[in-house]
Symmetry: C2
Subunit: 188 residues, 2 copies
């Protein structure tokens, strides 16, 4: 039972965060959506905070899987870099609840050490993926450019999720790819 309950609760947590847009969500609502009493949610997760962290971890896990899949299917070094970018703008990442999870994740990372650690791991892995793909073409510049692209992915995602780029993930990815193209085309 335990793994089933935990999975249901995590799913319900993400759904409720998406609905509220924030972490102002009650354990009762989450438990209700998952079809159980709030006491049981506390039984399995101990606290609301732990439940949130598990949910965040789940979002990251899904995103990581997507990136790995895209990397595996990509051809060549440049192709791998572009695959990472495109995976970051897949429709899955623009579902209301995923956007909400990310934004609240950032907020949580300010004050919650575990959330911060989690975010760092994600950012490091992203930069590492990009650097590995760009090293052959860019050499020493690969590090800086990878950081730039990683940051730009998050920034463009933010704009696409909340701003004028809304609802056009393809155009969003194109912006980041444009940067990559410039760096590849005219090497210093």
């Amino acid at each position: 039972m335990e793994p089933i309950r935990r999975a249901s609760l995590i799913k319900a947590t993400i759904a409720e965060i998406g609905l509220a847009g924030s972490l102002e969500v009650t354990v009762s609502r989450i438990a209700k959506r998952a079809g159980m009493s709030s006491a049981l949610a506390h039984h399995y997760f101990g606290s609301k905070e732990a439940l949130f962290l598990a949910a965040m971890r789940d979002v990251l896990r899904l995103y990581g899987a997507e990136v790995r899949g895209a990397l595996a299917a990509a051809e060549g070094a440049e192709g791998r870099a572009r695959a990472v970018i495109r995976a970051s703008f897949s429709p899955a990442n623009f579902r209301r609840e995923v956007i909400a999870a990310w934004l609240n994740f950032y907020v949580l990372a300010q004050s919650q050490p575990q959330a911060r650690r989690l975010l760092r791991v994600y950012q490091r892995r992203m930069v590492s993926n990009l650097r590995h793909a760009l090293r052959p073409a860019l050499g020493d510049r690969a590090g800086v450019v990878s950081q730039g692209i990683a940051a730009m992915i998050d920034g463009v995602y933010l704009h696409a999720a909340l701003g004028p780029l809304a609802a056009d993930p393809t155009a969003a990815a194109a912006l980041v790819e444009d940067y990559l193209t410039r760096e590849l085309e005219c090497r210093a």
Copy 2:
């Protein structure tokens, strides 16, 4: 009295948001910090939500003033673009409470129409400033590149505020400027 009280409350609100890292801040705490009763805070702002919005508006106003100042002091078109970028990474924007305000602003923009409107205005103005500065050098590409830079500013800010770039605003600005340099150097 009214303008003084309002200003104190806004200042206290930003400070408390910075302290908590989130919007989970009580009107009482804010009022206490501002040296008055919570009833008075409600008297002047009507609701917690209105107080938050006023605080967000204040953060945006300060940022806008900084950008305008930098623009006025800049020389040439390219200089103006670089001024916008550098202003975005000024120490003022990396104060704990300003970071907290921005992150929570994004969260709020998902569900609060006024916050969303405010954010759109800020984003539009930023892109418009950049486009105006880049038009002479980039022509038709100015629009796309401006959107890219605007997004990258927010993304790099996010990384600098929460991630590995932490505490090095100059390096952060350099990442964005690198993108600009590429676009200027090798025109398609």
